[in-house]
Amino acid sequence: MSEFANAPRAATIAVLVENEPGILARVVGLFSGRGYNIDSLTVAPVDETGRISRITIVTSGTEMVIEQIKAQLDRLVPVHKVSDLTLEGPHLTRELALIKVVGKGELRMEALRLADAFRARVVDATVESFVFEMTGNADKIDAFCALMRPIGLVEVSRTGAVAIARGPRGIN
């Protein structure tokens, strides 16, 4: 039993699926129906024909729950492949965020300084607002938003995480 530690862990799971109607509902319904967490979920077609989509799910649970989540995903008929990136070794996680900050005078300057430190790009500007674009892992975006809040953060739009294993090996 020792291998099934009871402490929850985070898991980033990549799922290759047949790109057919209802597939996202199947995946999301599985999580809600069985009471699993979804911290984030992204999806887009990834092959040249547009037939295969890749879903990246960030979830958390005990080892036994994560094993269940993977087994449950894998038994969905349109699922080709389930890969637990967290378990399988080093991987990269990135998220894109668009962050709107409103302010004047010194606050504007402070916003730009912070954006520079975080390598956020200005993608829209008016005399009283900026929209910053940044990519990074969730922690970095969280930290940036936290700093912007007192300055004049008004809106955030985030993609959720996408992830890929490091090194030459492909998912298939």
Binding site: M1, E3, F4, V17, E18, P21, G22, A25, R26, G29, G33, M64, E67, Q68, A71, Q72, D74, R75, L76, V77, P78, V79, H80
Partner: protein, 599 residues
């Protein structure tokens, strides 16, 4: 595309309507019978059915019953059961049956009508989001939006329903797709793009399992519905394996018949209403071989007290069944039949000797538990004990020697049927285990009788459950199906009453079956025979009369009203905390507060 490379069949097939393509696909997938109920959206299929003879349509009286009938048909034959219902209410009525088949791993293909594609999403007449509603109720479902997909989807539906862990599949068919011409193609010979369940076990896992089993001092084989799903050959291999090892064997409710109840190595059903010896052997064993069972909560009792000292081997075709409730040392993914064949071979090839002395001591301990005689009851006085009614039914059918199939409704009578009716072969026992659907038994028996016209098909029923699909008496009459409904009439929702007695201070809230019909007259009004038995002295004659009658019968057996079903592991208790019946010594009573929140 040049004329030479054009597939010849496509052009010819374009003379077929979608409805004809559907029927052709059914035929090519071996369907002989379809259970259904018509309506506007499926009229094109009904029209095609009218014009052919290959497939027989059985008109049920409610769509839920169509699915249960298909389940009975499937479970008793090993084939895929097939259902046809209309859009909207036809589809929603079928949902309970679909979930029932999902939880019990029964292969079903259910065709549902749908409004034409251009009206989908418009709240059209009798429109329901059938794929949305049935997504969590099926193994998989399809909405056919293009005529060129129709044949492929039909073939795929059968493949998905029966391969791997079987289950129900819905194909939602818009009316324009049924009317428009559609191309037909035969089932592809190639593998499915994404769904390829593993059936062959891993050799290394088999080796690990054998090492554990050979070294076992107190082993047990715990076999479930997966062995039935794997086909009769798997039951034969299970029997060989149990005989060659000398191990005790227990079956789940869904596994009854996988191993013969006559066999001296059979210790009975396990779980909440299982035998004392099966549950204590599970609790005390040192090596457990689970084959095709899913550690259901009705079986394990309190998880942290479940078989605490054992090493566990779990063979299952569905990886998600493994390590779901109970962590195991040796997981084996594969078909039960293939796993058993591999285990038998490896057992023979392995040089290590068994600890025969330990096994003998283990059997001595098990025989001690058997000595409690946990199913003993006393039939005396003028009131029929329900256990006795089932026992006599069993003994008389055995004496008559006819091929017999039993279905049940849900409740105490179901458990008494499991305890007192013995099964020597697989596929003879149909019960709603996972969902526990009252109203399952009559339509299931109907489906069995269609598949086995000369067999004796009996629904062991409760007076409350039987009313949930009683309209199917009409179907029995129409098709002259000689199904026997054997009601253990205790005038209570007995299982509910029992829990209220044990857990809720005897406050029998809404569990009395008031205003019951006169079942004899009810039978007669449906052109069947009605029999009522109230005196134990008349029981045998009543049973014989029921069996001898060539048509459908309702036998209404008045039984003790306050009888409880024992042994019982109360919710939240462990296997070694069973409540025994009044005839047995020992056992521990009491339901904890944590237990009360469980079902």
């Amino acid at each position: 595309m040049s004329a030479a490379t054009k597939p010849a069949s496509t052009e010819a097939a374009l003379t077929m309507s979608g409805a004809e393509v559907v029927l052709r696909a059914l035929k090519d997938n071996g369907v002989e019978v379809i259970f259904g109920y018509p309506g506007g959206a499926v009229l094109p299929i009904y029209d095609a059915i009218f014009q052919q003879n290959a497939i027989r349509h059985i008109l049920v009286r409610h769509e839920q019953a169509a699915v249960h009938a298909a389940e009975g048909y499937a479970r008793s034959t090993g084939k895929v059961g097939c259902v046809l219902v209309t859009s909207g209410p036809g589809a929603t009525n079928a949902v309970t049956g679909l979930v029932d088949a999902l939880l019990d791993s029964i292969p079903i293909v259910c065709l549902t009508g749908q409004v034409p594609t251009h009206l989908i999403g418009n709240d059209a007449f009798q429109e329901a989001d059938t794929t949305g509603i049935t997504r969590p109720a099926t193994k998989h479902n399809y909405l056919v939006k293009k005529s060129e997909d129709l044949a492929r989807v039909m073939h795929e539906a059968f493949y998905v329903a029966k391969s791997g862990r079987p289950g129900p599949v819905v194909v939602d068919l818009p009316k324009d797709i049924l009317i428009n011409k559609a191309p037909y193609s035969e089932a592809p010979k190639t593998e499915h793009r994404s769904y390829r369940p593993q059936t062959e076990p891993d050799a290394e896992q088999i080796r690990k399992a054998i090492a554990l089993l050979k070294g076992a001092k107190k082993p047990i084989v715990y076999a479930g519905g997966g062995v039935i799903n794997a086909g009769p050959e798997a039951s034969r291999l299970l029997t060989d394996f149990v005989h060659m090892t000398g191990f005790p064997c227990t079956n789940t409710l869904m596994g009854l018949g996988a191993f013969s109840s006559d066999d001296k190595q059979f210790v009975g059903m396990l779980g909440m209403h299982g035998t004392y010896e099966a549950n204590l052997a599970m609790h005390d064993c040192d090596v457990m071989l689970n084959i095709g069972a899913r550690f259901d909560d009705r079986v394990t009792g309190r998880l942290n007290a479940f078989s605490p000292g054992s090493k566990k081997i779990h063979a299952d075709i569905d990886p998600s069944s493994i390590n779901k409730n109970v962590p195991v040392e040796v997981p084996i993914v594969g078909d039960a039949g293939r796993v058993l064949a591999a285990l038998i071979e490896a057992w023979k090839a392995d040089g290590q000797a068994q600890d025969k002395a330990a096994l003998t001591a283990w059997w001595r301990q098990i025989d001690g538990w058997r000595g409690i005689d946990c199913l003993r009851y006393r039939q005396e006085g003028k009131i029929i004990k329900p256990q006795h009614a089932v026992k006599r039914l069993y003994e008389i059918t055995r004496e008559l020697g006819r091929e017999t199939f039993i279905s049940t409704e849900v409740g105490q009578h179901q458990m008494w049927a499991a305890q007192y009716f013995g099964f020597q072969k697989p596929n003879r026992w149909m019960t709603s285990g996972g969902l526990g659907t009252m109203g399952y038994g009559l339509p299931a028996a109907m489906g069995v009788q269609i598949a086995h016209p000369d067999a004796l098909c009996i629904d062991i029923a409760g007076e409350a459950s039987i009313l949930m699909n009683i309209q199917e008496m009409g179907t029995l009459a129409q098709y002259r199906l000689p199904v026997k409904v054997f009601i253990l009439n205790n005038e209570y929702m007995g299982m509910v009453r029992q829990w209220q007695e044990l857990l809720h201070g005897g406050r029998y809230s809404e569990s009395y079956s008031s205003a019951l019909p006169d079942f004899v007259k009810l039978a007669e009004s449906f052109h069947a025979k009605g029999i009522r038995v109230t005196d134990p002295a008349d029981l045998d004659a009543g049973i014989r009369e029921m069996i001898a009658y060539p048509g459908p019968v309702i036998a209404d057996i008045a039984v003790a009203k306050d009888e409880n079903c024992f042994p019982m592991i109360p919710s939240g208790a462990a296997h070694n905390e069973m409540i025994l019946g009044p005839e047995q010594e020992g056992g521990v009573a009491g339901v904890t507060d944590e237990g009360k929140v469980l079902v």
